[in-house]
Symmetry: C2
Subunit: 447 residues, 2 copies
């Protein structure tokens, strides 16, 4: 719209009374406010929440849900609708489905008298739908990308003015939703690329298969325990996945040789964190991941300064790198070729971490690590055959931490354990020593 | 703002005349229009253009520039300002610098009488600044992220109303600019990750170093020649960079052995396109890149069906994969260890492509490839030492294509070449046979 057009719109109103202006003016103010709120957010989940809430308030109604069209599956879905979980249904179903298919606006004053209304949902949720305005959301290419469903106006039915207001909001909401979807796709692409790559590098050596993924999962547990801020959690996650990225340029002779390396090969092996760092430094990273190269490159530093590549001491080592050092060592001692037993006793593994606490490891992270609950520990240890973990076992293990397990294991050496303690210890050991795999070799082979 | 707040704002206007409503109403309409236009765009460059144009129109002024703050460099920059190229200057300079530093709004009615105004720019551009409104752009955390500079109002000076309108636009523009920056960062992260990775995989074998990057550059030339739509160009670009991704899981014995492979090793080598495909299939890709795995995985198919992994024929092979096959073969014949001469004569290389046209290659792409201009060809052949190409040579080579070169080379075999033709042939051969490297070995070593 250019200035001339705007002027002509304005002229049309000159003859009208201030009342018309007041109404229009009010609508415009609302619309502007909604627009501002919508512009603020680019994360899809949060954006949808804002849109639903703003539309509900603007139309003075009890509920608003935005259903988006999933073209691949021919379904409508809504991730977050006032506290409920994700809803998904066929594009063919209900009033929303009708509107998504036809592009018609449906303003229904008595839901229960309309045959397209699916009473099933009210019956399940205990909610009582009276009137509803269902509106198609179209993008700039005029394709229907979703549907607004506004329920139960505070007083009376939805008016023509409500429809007009929703038309204007819909326009801006659709634009911002498409922006958010583009952003989300890019984020997911980056993320899944990193995951696949980490996986591929680990797979070059069967002894380390799945290592980076497990490191990521252990790190995430510790991050929860120490209450790391979400932004740092994302950074930690990528540092965990990519800490061994430098191994991509090691030769097979070095990478697959677990003993008997020549001096030169050994020094090549020790160069991998530095390579990780310099490779990651060539990548353009989003602002919140700028520290990724330093963190990922420092996972072999030791707090007493005897690590590599730089021989950094304590606080000189990045916080998240000290965390990685602990979980990296733990996984090295507890991972194994599939179907072969773990060789080192669990108690001895943790004892090693404890003994090296203060020299190799930052004690803070060794202690935090020991607070991981056993259900999570087993899920990560057995990540590739997780589906073979019995739900009852997991439920029981969730009540105990590594600390609890250590207490039981260590007291066992002196006194007999109580029955209750004994149960969870035995269940843990069954998974730790992979006895659960013995019964179902076929299933695990296909996992 | 909730409904009550909106109502109270509205109440405040009840006493006013319709005139006040008319003015406010007009401003709101403009603001709403600007907001809509801004919401549509998530690509930063295009978004900035829209913002500048909309602000200019809304404030009835001759020019508007948005300068964004580059915190790393402490500079203000504007990528696109009504046709000019990127402008960059220190945050300390001029009126824009002053506003970015202090957060003050500067409404200057006579630019030339204000000491902060930098007359240098007018002198360079030939533009005459009369009055100007310079306004800080702040984000939701109240940080200054840039500056609006609006020049030369059509009539009179910038008013208080202009400032108010700009305040409201600024708010929404800042939100959308930050969204666009987030999106841009994610896109760049994905892109540079892919580049680094391709590079790393090529580097495992010195014989293929830089291969994927060159394939990308050749593909891009052919894409320009055949006028491939921009969306497909992006897809082609990633397919080119990642076509050898599957080599990541080949063993050194296979990868670094250029002859004498055992049968099993040979079949491993031939498995790499299929691995490329299946690895890429595990990655979540943005919508426009969904075909990436199929295209990248089919670069060793031949149009007569004798290729691998699937033995597809002609149209069964994706369009872009047929393009990749040509440039992949060309690079294999013309790349070499650095400092060593290219072994196969250029004419013979192209002859091979021509002879295999219709059996191995799609003739369409062989013909398109031959339309590449020689300056681009040399720049890609010598990608790693590009800086050693003489600008005069490049300027001359830009007038000739591979076809021209072939005509000259082939007629040479029968008749003596003309002087004009001889020049460009000799210059091309100097680069093709890397004679330009002989004089400056040190420089090239550091490149």
């Amino acid at each position: 719209m250019n200035n001339l057009e705007l002027a002509s719109i304005d002229d049309r109103f000159t003859e009208h009374s201030s009342m018309v202006y007041r109404d229009e003016h009010h609508q415009l103010k609302i619309l502007l406010h909604v627009t501002r709120e919508i512009s603020k957010e680019i994360q899809l989940d949060r954006l949808l929440l804002i849109i639903m809430n703003e539309v509900r308030k603007a139309l003075k109604a009890d509920r608003c849900t935005v259903f988006l069209l999933d073209e691949d599956k021919n379904e409508l879905w809504s991730k977050v609708a006032h506290g409920e979980k994700e809803i998904r249904f066929s594009k063919q179903l209900g009033v929303a489905g009708y509107v998504a298919k036809t592009g018609e606006i449906l303003n229904i004053s008595d839901a229960y008298s309309d045959s397209r209304f699916n009473q099933e949902i009210d019956r399940k949720t205990g909610y009582r739908t009276l009137n509803m305005l269902t509106y198609p959301m179209t993008n700039k290419r005029n394709e229907i990308i979703g549907v607004f469903q506004v329920l139960n106006k505070y007083s009376g039915n939805f008016s023509e003015q409500d429809e007009e207001l929703l038309a204007a909001i819909s326009w801006i909401a659709a634009a911002q939703i498409e922006n958010a979807q583009l952003y989300e796709q890019q984020r997911q692409a980056f993320n899944s690329f990193v995951e696949t790559l980490a996986n591929t590098i680990d797979a070059r050596d069967p002894l380390t298969a799945g290592h980076s993924k497990r490191i990521e999962l252990y790190s995430n547990e510790v991050a929860q325990i120490i209450d790391l801020p979400p932004q740092r959690q994302e950074l930690l996650r990528y540092a965990a996945l990519l800490h061994d990225y430098g191994k991509i340029s090691l030769s097979d002779a070095v990478l697959k040789n677990s003993g008997g390396l020549s001096e030169e090969e050994y020094s090549q092996m020790r160069s991998h964190p530095a390579i990780t760092r310099s490779l990651l430094e060539t990548i353009y990273l989003p602002k919140n991941l700028k520290e990724l190269p330093i963190i990922a490159g420092a996972h072999h530093e030791k707090v007493d300064g005897s690590g590599y590549p730089e021989g950094l001491k304590f606080e000189q080592i990045p916080f998240e790198a000290r965390l990685l050092a602990v979980v990296d060592a733990f996984d090295a001692m507890t991972s194994s070729r599939r179907y072969s037993d773990r060789i080192i006793d669990f108690e001895k593994v943790v004892r090693t971490l404890e003994e090296d606490s203060g020299s190799h490891f930052d004690p803070y992270f060794v202690e935090a690590f020991k607070k991981i609950t056993l259900d999570r520990l087993v899920a990560i240890l057995e990540y590739e055959v997780q589906h073979l973990i019995e739900p009852e076992d997991a439920a029981l293990l969730a009540h105990f931490t590594i600390n609890d397990l250590l207490r039981a294991l260590r007291s066992e050496q002196k006194n007999p354990v109580t029955a209750g303690e004994g149960d969870f210890v035995a269940i843990f050991q069954k998974y730790y020593h992979r006895e659960h795999l013995e019964n179902e070799p076929q299933t695990s082979e296909h996992s």
